[in-house]
Symmetry: C2
Subunit: 320 residues, 2 copies
């Protein structure tokens, strides 16, 4: 069943700072509601003001604690802060835990903070489609910083680097020495690295390894961003001011170097492409339910055709 929604009114309320309206709009995104195209068109003129900060790292490195500490630091700068938790293992995400966590979170009663978990879906509704749309809602609603928290496993960490202006990569001593980090491909995606749990054994050598690996990968072009490695302990606040400063520095560098516009254009390009693919997939699904794809697949199994030939036939069926 589709509820009727008054998109212009909700957008106006969200922009006036009503959390409930922001929540309704993100639910429309999360549900891929039919009003989505209208919503996206209504948001467009109000977007572009927010700093989108990706935060990623393996389970156990302290992403939620760091997010909480970062919220406080950004609030101290009088910023309005939104958090999108796309990490299914995050205490911010998922049914039963959410309520408890929000009660624990001192920010819950602060009207300048909005925290929301996004259901992570399969191919069509995953990070690639829902998250950028939810970011647009929060951007248009006037949040200064939007922290997008994802678990750093597989695809999502690469995708978050595409969705964010600034990507923070969290590691913990022993879990993420330089070589492991290089293998996992996280050196490429981070703009700022945080070695959390700095009181643990091996923190200094992890920082040193990481700095070394990063320098090896960095070019010598003048004006490039020098990716900092910050030693932190989010639990007691150590290093968080330095982290907030590094985030601000990176935003300054993005704006002055022209990289901000470049990244955002690339992000828009990816988002458009993902939507085109989703529409074409849906259309192929329609063909499939009409039996065309199934019939072609059966012919391939019987050896009467092959996937390339079948793909060409299906493309003609799509009118392409």
């Amino acid at each position: 069943m589709t509820r009727t929604v008054d998109v212009p009114v909700l957008v106006e309320e969200a922009r006036a700072g009503t959390s409930r309206a922001v929540g309704r709009l993100i639910s429309l995104v999360d549900d891929q509601h039919p009003a989505l195209p209208e919503l996206m068109a209504a948001l467009a003129p109000h977007t572009g003001g927010a700093h989108v900060i990706g935060l990623t790292g393996s389970p156990g490195v302290g992403k939620s604690t760091t997010t909480n500490a970062l919220i406080r630091a950004l609030r101290d700068q009088d910023q309005r802060v939104a958090v999108l938790a796309v990490d299914p293992s995050s205490p911010f995400s998922g049914g039963a835990l959410l309520g408890d966590r929000i009660r624990m979170n001192e920010s819950a009663s602060d009207p300048g903070v909005y925290i929301r978990s996004l259901a992570s879906r399969g191919h069509l509704g995953g990070l690639s489609v829902s998250t950028p749309q939810a970011i647009r809602v929060l951007d248009a609603a006037g949040f200064d910083s939007i922290i997008v928290e994802t678990v750093g496993v597989g695809q999502s960490e690469v995708e978050i680097a595409g969705a964010a202006d600034t990507t923070l990569v969290l590691l913990a001593p022993g879990m993420g020495d330089g070589i492991q980090a290089a293998k996992a491909g996280i050196l490429e995606i981070g703009d700022v690295f945080v070695v959390n749990k700095a009181d643990r054994d091996g923190a200094d050598s992890t920082v040193r390894d990481l700095r070394h690996m990063i320098q090896l990968g960095e070019g010598t072009a003048p004006g490039r961003w020098r990716r900092p490695v910050i030693k932190a302990s989010a639990l007691d606040g150590t290093g968080i001011d330095e982290l907030a400063a590094a985030i601000a520095d990176h935003l300054g560098w993005l704006a002055s170097s022209g990289a901000l516009r470049q990244r955002r254009t690339a992000r828009a390009r990816d988002e458009i492409t993902a939507l085109v693919i989703a529409r074409l997939r849906a259309r192929m699904g329609d063909l499939g339910s009409g039996g065309a794809l199934d019939a072609l697949a059966a012919r391939v199994v019987d050896g009467g055709s092959d996937p390339h030939t079948a793909a060409e036939e299906l493309l003609s069926g799509l009118g392409v």
Copy 2:
């Protein structure tokens, strides 16, 4: 530079058992050579005879050792056996190590065994496109069993379940107790589970946990496949005969239940869809290089349009 290839001659030689021809054909797949459509069409009538066995598990559980033991067991049944290593961390894969490993492998001089690593690529040439095509080459070349070895991280383990008739999931004691396995989503994809390194502490409890979790997830429908959990030690051959028997049992069940055809049709459907998407992406890339996508993305960044509207415009540009 594109070398001219005589596809019909290569296919004939591959079907006659010439390893060199099989290797050339897989290289065409790995390079996504322009002759690929012709090749796939030439192979089609000869496919469908091989049993495709996926083998997945985290690094360190003993995938390569198990593959070696399995090759021996299948050779004892006079099967011709091919191995595709898609796992970048596998000693079968990757430049320098490959030669050493093949020399170590007693099967290297056996003409009934073919071992090949596939370069794992990004979006377009990844498991979803190259691997099913390489499987087709080996299938048409007359191998009875094709073992596809992948590292069990993220996407690839789910994809291998789509590409294989029978999926083996390897675990080691302590690394993969039931709950961890359930979290990682591997309970859904396995047809046969192997707890390797059975001499280690905790092997029995891992087997017990796993059996329990599997039973919880299994329906009560008559005629369903009861997924076995086999305790093995690939290094000394313990449990390998039982594993080979379970693989044969599963093939028998697939054939008699109709699931074999169903799985292969689903696989062909996925392969066709992936190829259609790849072609459409390429065409969008063409539009992009013409500047249409970039111009649309820039309008989105400026707030003059939104991704949905831009996607619709791009679709009209594709003639869809």
